[in-house]
Symmetry: D4
Subunit: 230 residues, 8 copies
């Protein structure tokens, strides 16, 4: 770009009080942000003593950040970068069970897992337990029943949360994925299926939103001490 | 209507050769046809010795036809009227198992059952075996495995055919129903789920099309004698 | 209907183990079920000592049932019928706060409230606190922060859960309603808004599904004793 | 990627009993799987004596696998890779006729053909017989009538299965393709047309799902021996 | 309504020059207009010597108008009212062939026929020639080839215009109808099919718009004298 | 309803400060509110000296309210009820020109007009000036150029605002209506057209939202005194 | 690709009788066809004395074909390749006027122009006459009125055909283009607008289908000699 | 491309009177235009003394134009190129406040800002004030209340304009952005939310149309002198 090219941008307003209000810090959505924008945000958060989690981060950008910041960890499948060391010491009691229908749903399941870990949650992840081999789903039933929250991740027809929801009493968070083609319409089919589950009390997050599912699970684990009392 | 009102209509062209070409006769789609149109069609078909099946027929119209034709039978739930006596003697070998997810899916399941019977097929119907109580689905497994074709009927998230498709080897015909509300969008959610089933080799008919599922099943049973040979 | 009219129907298969598996009993979805079907279901459930909750029940049918069963209570706005006396003694600790954006969203908010009560939950409901008068939303903040779960009900642009989700740490269940017209497309606009909330960890149920939101809340309150341990 | 980058993945759970349950083995969906994931799956399946079929496999990845495994065959148009030698000896009686509307529908038609062959089915394929030149469709009528199943593949307006369905008595499986532009909406137009066919008893699979159509045909041919008896 | 109820309405602005600009007069769209609005419009048009055609007119309203105006003719199926006597003398050379797929498409086919007649066109109408009985379609080929324009009317999968378009050289105007259910989405399936026809040079009007198809045909017949010359 | 039927409802929270914040009072959306709810709201607003405007009010309910409150005025076409006398004295300088494409768009145009008048605005309304008779649109150009805001109301293809937007310099608010059928999809076609106008600087409100267009116009007229200064 | 890669393809079935049936030859749709497929088709058509028109052809492929065949002409904007010399001598009387709303609609307008010329039609093309500068549209009125057919090409809100349709008596073929962004949804907005035109007798082809519009125009010009007689 | 390749294009028709009619000049939409087309347009506009604004211009093309024209300025984020010097002297009284929900919405917010400046408007831009941190939104309230127009830019659930619209009296122009994923459907979710805002009198432009929002704001500021008078 020539010198008569420029970019005018206001500075960022970070929400440092989010942790106290919501129980988790501001996370950074990596998509659509430039390296320089991300660098600036990291600087300011780390300066305040906050670890940083960047989701949906392209490998090239992640690679650049990892070179500079030695205490960073990037997962290529989940596309998540975590910077800092404090998060490894955090601990929220309870277990999040992440059930994933197929191998291609793994990036979303891992996004959930890594986000939950970053906030101090213990997780277990089972893959390839889609309903077309219902014995595989059922074989995990004991594990699921031990969990405090189940995150059920599935693309295509999105049936997994319905089956699980009929088998466990704990909260079930359904995550549709964009896995599929044609009339799956990038996950719309799975999303609609989950919203219309015949198993009562399933709740749903956006397509491919493993991150959001983790946050919902954290809200649940965080609220374990009954406040409304009796 | 005054005398300066009139209705100009061409006469019907019935397709009497459909039975020889397709293995079943022309059926009459009742919706949108007037009583006088239906009467005319019945007269011409019965005169040719063809029994008549009218689908999607409103109870009021059915009641009127039943008054005149004593050899007619109307099912209010399935909204199907069958006229004539020959169909009770017809017989196609094989068993069609109709699995229905919920009580409100029954009209569609019965439409399939009555159509199949009209063509001489033996059927079994199980209701309330949706996947939110997966033990109920599994309890029917032996019956399903004895069948030559399974018709799986479900509204809401439409997951039933996926589970069945992973458990049986015979053809599975999935019928989405318009049961549900909100984002079920009158059955679109169930339809999309079935089209995107992770169980291989499921095939799908239109929303609420129990009739079409029966026809597809009849095609399968009719083709039992291998023609392409070897 | 003439005598050559009939209705052939398989008997119902109720899921009496749902309470032990899921923490709440089988509820009855009233839409599309005939009075005789409902009567049959009620008989069988009450005979087993289970109270009955029928959702989406038309006033005419409710009126007929109420005449016969003296221990029944019908709410016209919520369209919910509750039969039996045991449910009034049940008690799950914790508080569910139901925030409703506008007056016309009340039927859905009440469906949530009455369902939750039926399962023994304590609830509080605030109406008319939509974001176009943000001071009204904010005035309820203290109440919301005392709750264990917030159910946020809104039609039209469905913004209420986003604002609440940024202010509280507890789980937030968003319920889109079909309130609106034109491009609201019967609640699709609100549903999409909630699925795309910029507040992390909001989860969503189907349009007008106050019932499902209550079930999700019950799952959360029921899971208060950490099982996954530590 | 730097050393602080990593990928954490659970191991695969293959469904080796699928052949005994469904009549065909687990197939591998190639899209979205990495070379290393595919290698791992191939190793485990071949070790169990199962041949491998990978669908929707990019040429570059296929090329890499073909270098290593000498008993592999890749078809660039169908994007299918078949590994092993056992499949060439398998034989299911009956003939599958694959009718393809246009030249650009060929990849989907070939996906059906190669999948069916892999399971031991005999197939015939005719291309360029779309309904805009109805004489071409009709010229294949004798061949179609000799078949046990017809798979009808078409994009754009998807009319081919309707015409064929009115001419043959055997099962007709309709496969919409994404061929077209603008309001074809990547095959949605053809899909809807097929679901709404005026020819009774047509059943439909997902857009571009030649693979699924073949599986449905195999289910039909496999069930040739009447089980439900008489 | 009480006296404090009123309705304030501007007067109509009729487009009396439309005939000279477009070759046909302003027609009146009956839906959503009150009896008094229609009366006013009729008065003003008839006073100018223009006959009146009102489309989509409910039988009750038509009945009221017919009582007063003796030179009016209403067709219940087409829902068209024609007032005046001049139109019977008008004559545009050429023949419009109206091909209708099924009996339930007749209202739309007749709307086209009656509109075309009102403008002086000669028409022929054939019903029940849908593509599921392709011999019926083909049996009308000679008639269609004698026509100057073909209007092809079909609901459900909307395949008829594609077959006809491949067989005739004259202009083909495709009219999708709302006949069908479920995924026909009130005619959207047929509309999309027609827009994506593999027969070149088909053009399409709105769903159920028999009236518009007739107008398009009239434009074609009116332009028979080559103007652009050579 | 029997005595075991009841309705539990929280009381309303009216937003009395809306006038000071937004420049217009809280209006009442009539759809979905019961007579008793409306009565309660009217009482409280009138008691505070606020006149009441209820939009989308059914004639039957309006009739009941008009009987009691003598200072009320109901317009059947616009479905608007206005109660009180103060609004007739209010006056905001400037002129709102309401351009309506067709006669059937009038209810929406009148909703805009009556709402604007209630807030003290002067309005002019022209009907039947749709673009299919472009001379009619152009004949109003001088009037439009005298206006401070133009509200352009159109259904079907929604082209009117594009033509007007290219001819005037003042703000143009486009209101799509649900007038049309088939692929108009209840106004979605017109809405999309307006959002994609090739005339720069058109802004759009919801389908049939004449009320909202008036509010937008009032915001513009109210802000006539430059605040941001210079 | 390795030697164990191959592509199995049936040979093409060209429709050489299309010219006698439809008045124009089979055209070749370039998208999705390989160079070798195209070469084969060209060879066979040219051998029969038919010139070749390939639409939607990528520049790279076109370049390769042009190198070999000296009598070929490629237009980069229209993406059309025409091979042979006979077409320049053909002549159909009459004038096609192509009106294009904006500069970015030109590729579609040119596709229409070049196709029409290939069939022997005389054309005139005017660009940049969209309705946001209605004087530009009106300035072409005399030219349009001299034409035998008008093809009106527009993206975004697609209003141009409505204005033209109200001004001319000849047939108007509307072509929506995918020009636009956001809610234009790749031309769906323009398509819907054109299907819902308030100008009677407009007919519509698929999005970006300049080719199809030309074919429809050719059908009209070809049918200039009244066949249905009188 | 070989010599037998060519491109035939009509010359451009620029709308030089747009400034006098609409209050702003013709702007150039950069997408889909070639460098040579843009050069030609620039030449002709600059020759007439008009400055040039090109929106949606790719950096590569911008770079080429900047090399030649020294008085040009390109903003990479907004993708806007402005050529000429006159625009810096223009001045329209009043203040436009641009409120942007998140960092990734900045390109759209800047497109609005740079367009408004080009026409002589004073602007203020605040970023990162989305409703999930409502205190950030509220902290800008004083600034917003000083403005003459607020442009509210938001992706995802698009709630920002609803909150602002309930707090300020001036016109609010809502701009949905395509920021988001999955069910945001490239901005459709935000668009629908804004169209269904519960804050009265919000008006909306197309997705990502910062440019159009600026034009709407300019129309408002330009019309500050009441014309309709009183």
């Amino acid at each position: 770009m020539k010198k008569n090219s420029r970019t005018e941008e206001p500075s960022f307003e970070l929400d440092f009080e989010r942790r106290s209000r919501c129980g988790f810090p501001e996370f950074i959505y990596g998509e659509g942000k430039s390296l320089s924008q991300l660098e600036q945000i990291c600087d300011r958060m780390l300066a305040r003593g906050e670890d940083v989690l960047i989701s949906r981060l392209a490998p090239e950008t992640a690679s650049r950040i990892c070179e500079i910041r030695k205490d960073s960890e990037y997962d290529q499948t989940a596309r998540i970068l975590r910077i800092g060391r404090n998060w490894k010491k955090r601990k929220i009691p309870g277990l999040i069970y992440i059930a994933s229908a197929g191998t291609t749903d793994l990036p979303v399941a891992l996004e959930a897992k890594l986000t939950a870990e970053f906030c101090g949650c213990r997780t277990e992840l089972a893959s390839d337990i889609g309903v077309a081999g219902i014995h595989r789903t059922l074989s995990k039933l004991d594990c699921m029943r031990r969990a405090d929250v189940v995150i059920a991740v599935a693309g295509m027809e999105g049936a997994l949360p319905s089956v699980i929801g009929g088998l466990v009493a704990c909260p079930v968070i359904a995550v549709p994925t964009s896995v599929g083609y044609g009339s799956s319409m990038n996950g719309i089919a799975a999303l609609l299926a989950m919203l219309n589950s015949c198993a009562s009390g399933i709740c749903v997050v956006n397509i491919d939103n493993g991150f959001g599912a983790a946050c919902a699970a954290i809200r649940i684990l965080n609220s374990k001490k009954t406040k409304g009392g009796d």
